[in-house]
């Protein structure tokens, strides 16, 4: 069978999502049988952008002009473009300070030293190109990545998840950290699929997978408020991973 040509690129991000893929060690031999990783600068050299791709997996948000060029190039050359991880899907932590004065922010970090590249407000991929599928998470779940790739070999894109972290948390019969322990858990508003990884260990959900479809923010804010977490606190926390959360 002909191998699928795949491009894997990282934009503004920590490379953790690409690493999540490389961490699928048991499956790597199988992956190399099915996929030709033609463009994967983080893992394979040389990294030459050439020809067409069956799929491009892109990690990170956009914050520099050359990233926009790369993304547009990948979009043109790929049948499917897939946003890989929270930064690509929602903007992520790089977009945390969106809305603030960029020159001031630059000075906070670099002082008066010159900066190598021009930057702009970080954007999730869907603001610039058509995204065919998304695998969210910081980083994405290994299982989700492997299912995505296995699906691609059949020409299928993943089915979206429509339930919040709470759903899987309840299925695991966990103590509810929000209602029973008054902890600041964002499970109610956050997309599931992680198996309630953090709350299962007694750690409140940080919202790293971004918003669940049909999130009821108004009612959730009421509940958080009853627990002593005000609107600003909740929105600030939500926007750490998804700056597009709005009232």
């Amino acid at each position: 069978m002909k191998k699928m040509r795949v491009a894997i690129a990282g934009l503004t991000a920590c490379s953790g999502c690409q690493l999540a893929l490389l961490n699928c060690e048991d499956e790597l031999p199988e992956l190399f049988e099915k996929f030709a990783f033609h463009f994967f600068p983080m893992a394979c050299s040389p990294a030459l952008l050439e020809g067409e791709y069956d799929a491009a997996l892109v990690e990170g948000c956009l914050s520099m002009p050359h990233e926009k060029e790369l993304l547009l190039e990948l979009r043109k050359r790929s049948v499917h473009l897939i946003a890989l991880g929270t930064c690509a899907v929602w903007g992520g932590v790089a977009a945390l300070r969106n809305g603030e004065d960029r020159e001031w922010l630059r000075q906070q970090v670099y002082g008066h030293n010159p900066v190598a590249s021009e930057t702009f407000e970080p954007l999730p991929l869907h603001r610039v190109v058509k995204v065919d599928a998304a695998v969210t998470g910081c980083p994405p779940e290994k299982e989700e990545l492997l299912r995505l790739l296995a699906g691609l070999t059949r020409g299928a894109l993943p089915v979206g998840i429509d339930y919040p972290v709470c759903t899987e948390c309840r299925m695991r019969e966990n103590l509810c950290l929000l209602t029973e322990r008054d902890m600041f858990c964002l499970g109610l508003l956050t997309l599931g699929g992680c198996g309630a990884r953090c709350p299962s260990l007694g750690v409140p959900c940080e919202g790293c997978r971004g918003p669940v479809p049909e999130a009821n923010l108004a009612e959730a804010l009421e509940i958080y408020s009853e627990k002593g977490f005000g609107r600003i606190t909740v929105l600030d926390r939500l926007r750490r991973f998804c700056p597009e959360w709005k009232l």
Partner: protein, 331 residues
Amino acid sequence: MAPQYIASHNLAALLDRLRRYGELHGPVRGDDEVVRFAAIAPGTLPDLSALRTLLPPKKYLLHPQETILNYTAAAGYQMPAEEVRPLILFGVHPCDLAGINYLDRVFLGDAPDPLYAARRSALTLIGISCTPDEFCSCHISPSPLNALTDLSLQSLADGYAISSGSPRGDELLEGVKEILEERDIAVPEDTRRFFGQVAAEPLRQELDATLPDWQTLADACLGCGACSICCPTCYCFDVLEFGGLDGRSAVRLRQWDNCLLKCHAEVAGGMSFQKNRAERFRYRYRHKFRGFGPLQGIPSCVGCGRCRVVCPAGLDLRPLAERLDEGRHEQ
């Protein structure tokens, strides 16, 4: 014959003897204070003071997520080989027993579900009496479902009246008889009496879609699914199939679903039979309080109160049910 009696101090001995018949599970309080049905460790007692576990016993019969078929190119689709071992559930309250009765009607009906049937036949149910709290509603709306047990324990001052409800129960009683006594005691009625009641004439009219209650409920619902996950009779499931990386294998999964979620009524092409949460609440209400399909007229709510306890928004369908039932002749 005088009722059989077991003294409280003999409970540990009873549990030890029951272990001979299978793995013994019951309500166990965890370090996090959550009470769950779980294995009762030898030398420990279950928590019989708790009125409800977080998940009902349905988790043993219908797992939250499970493989229902495996595909390989050589063998095609195959049922997973599951070793089903005898399981004894100790300390099950009448509402949960009625919940199992409902699941039996669904999964052992016309086309029995093989996984469910195998697990169910390996299950021994030992019920225990309880006193309803403010979240319970078994005593408010009697149910036509049956709270059937193999053995039943009814709390008395210093022990339990114990009785059999099946040939399996007779066998167990025989096996533990050396720690039982016959006592001339008055056995009080327990909450089992609210079950197995004659069902009211099923209401066949469609629920009024214009009732403002559906939207009021929808506005407060967070869509977390806790109500149905924790419901002893919510059995809706989703079926997902994932092909393997090798291109020659696949696994088909079944996982708990929830009628308040977006995907529940979605079909190919992204169409949906229930586009918004208000419509989904009407559907949920219908299933819980009117019943549908072959179980039309059999409400599936057994009054355990879990949905009210776990809902982060404190939603409760009961007041609406009471109002609609009162006005049922006017509808």
